[in-house]
């Protein structure tokens, strides 16, 4: 679930829409986050021609910004640009669906060229006790494997791809290695896979430049709840406890046996009475 954005198209006539960006969330709005994962350059981000993120530094996550469903033109420029007319990335069209949750990532492609990718974040509800781990490869590096506790859990993940795992909540010791190998190029590092949360880990930077790193985004509130509290097994305080066992601290099965025997005795007496 990703869309690689078309990069390098000359900026067209853009309508300034600063006023069109809503101040508060409305029903059905999409959520857009933006991650800056191009090492070494501070940038400005324009949405529909309006400066939205000024002096945005590498390794920073912005958002989430609630936006009505629709298509937005995003241009990323040098931080000293006067406007969006000479972008270093884009402009690109981001199509956001109602209630969708997205992260637009400015990053390097596998060959080290700046690009941008729009990822769709999985916000499906998780089972109680579980967390979701999403791993995205947005680094200038070949395909990788992701190792948890030294064993590969994701293999052959290539830029700009992602892999999504559902795990019991807890801390994962994660490392990243060239695919087919186990010698880490990143990590091992502890990643908290929190319950009811989509923990999104980005491998970014450049292998050639020696600045590979991990960035993390979390989307919480995806939890569900225990389906019950089965807090009794013996029937010792049951309101329907058989009368002839009241006051006795005995097992429910034994109580049932006694009840059955008692009922049997009564039935026999009744039958005997009828027979007379």
């Amino acid at each position: 679930m990703r869309k690689t954005l078309i990069v390098g198209i000359a900026a067209g006539a853009l309508v300034a829409v600063a006023a069109a960006l809503p101040a508060s969330a409305a029903e059905g709005d999409a959520q857009l986050s933006v991650l800056h994962a191009v090492p070494g350059v501070t940038v400005d981000v324009y949405v529909n021609g309006a400066l939205t993120l000024d002096d945005f530094t590498p390794g920073t996550l912005a958002g989430p910004l609630p936006l009505p469903a629709g298509t937005y033109s995003v241009a990323i420029t040098a931080s000293d640009a006067a406007d969006a007319s000479s972008p270093v990335i884009g402009p690109v069209d981001l199509t956001l669906a109602a209630n969708g949750n997205y992260t637009a990532v400015a990053h390097l492609d596998a060959a080290g060229k700046p690009t941008a990718t729009l990822f769709t974040n999985d916000t499906a509800t998780l089972a109680a006790g579980e967390g979701r781990l999403t791993v995205r490869h947005v680094a200038a590096a070949p395909a990788v494997d992701v190792l948890a506790g030294g064993s590969p859990v994701i293999t052959n993940l290539a830029n700009p791809g992602e892999s999504v795992l559902t795990l019991p909540a807890g801390t994962v010791s994660a490392s990243v290695a060239a695919t087919g190998t186990t010698d880490p190029v990143i990590g091992p590092a502890d990643v908290d896979v929190a319950e009811g949360t989509n923990t999104i880990v980005y491998a970014w930077g450049s292998l050639a430049d020696g600045n590979l790193a991990l960035a993390v985004q979390t989307i919480g509130g995806l939890h569900s709840n225990p389906g019950g509290v089965p807090a009794g097994t013996a029937g010792l305080v049951a309101t329907n406890k058989p009368a002839d066992t009241s006051g006795l601290l005995i097992g429910g099965a034994f109580a049932l046996l006694l009840a059955a025997l008692g009922a049997g005795v009564v039935r026999k007496r009744l039958l005997a009475k009828d027979a007379r």
Partner: protein, 164 residues
């Protein structure tokens, strides 16, 4: 548009204050508390021993600012007999509940309501609420028992609100 440092480890999770003990002094209840998740059936995992209550570790703690902190224990067991939580169903409003954390902090609550709810009709999302007003829920079983399935038909749910 809010910005945050996305570096791994830039936002370590808040340390969780785990409850270790819950007491209802006026009823003579004093049980240990263990942090638990869910069992294989997706229900709250509970110790067989009614003297060891479970705190739902993914929900609020008794020290959280919001949401319902859930602590539950078996009402009985073949091996251990009748548990202390069997006394909860008769707790009057205003009964004080004291929780003590692993590191010795206490949080006090006052019983607001006691209800016996048919297990098929419990709104568990409301019981395990993580966002609303802060409160404590003490839960056990009660009511009629199904002797063929070995389960009570109802839950006893006690809600208690923080004492300022």
């Amino acid at each position: 548009m809010p910005r945050t440092d996305a570096a791994l480890g830039a936002h370590p999770a808040e340390p969780v204050v785990q409850p270790a003990r819950v007491q209802v002094p006026s009823l003579g209840i004093d049980v240990a508390v263990s942090p638990e998740g869910v069992d294989a059936k997706g229900a709250l995992a509970l110790s067989d021993d009614p003297a060891i209550a479970s705190w739902y570790r993914y929900g609020p703690t008794p020290w959280s600012a919001s949401g319902t902190s859930v602590i539950a224990a078996h009402v009985d067991s073949f091996d251990y007999g009748v548990g202390q939580f069997a006394l909860l169903k008769d707790a009057p409003s205003g009964t004080e509940v004291v929780t003590t954390s692993v590191d010795g902090q206490t949080a006090r609550f006052s019983v607001e309501s006691v209800s016996m709810v048919d297990k098929t009709g419990v709104d568990w999302a409301a019981v395990f609420d993580r966002a609303g007003a802060h409160r404590l829920a003490l839960i056990t079983c009660g009511g009629e028992f199904n002797y063929s399935t070995g389960h009570y038909l109802s839950n006893v749910i006690v809600y208690a609100v923080p004492i300022a």
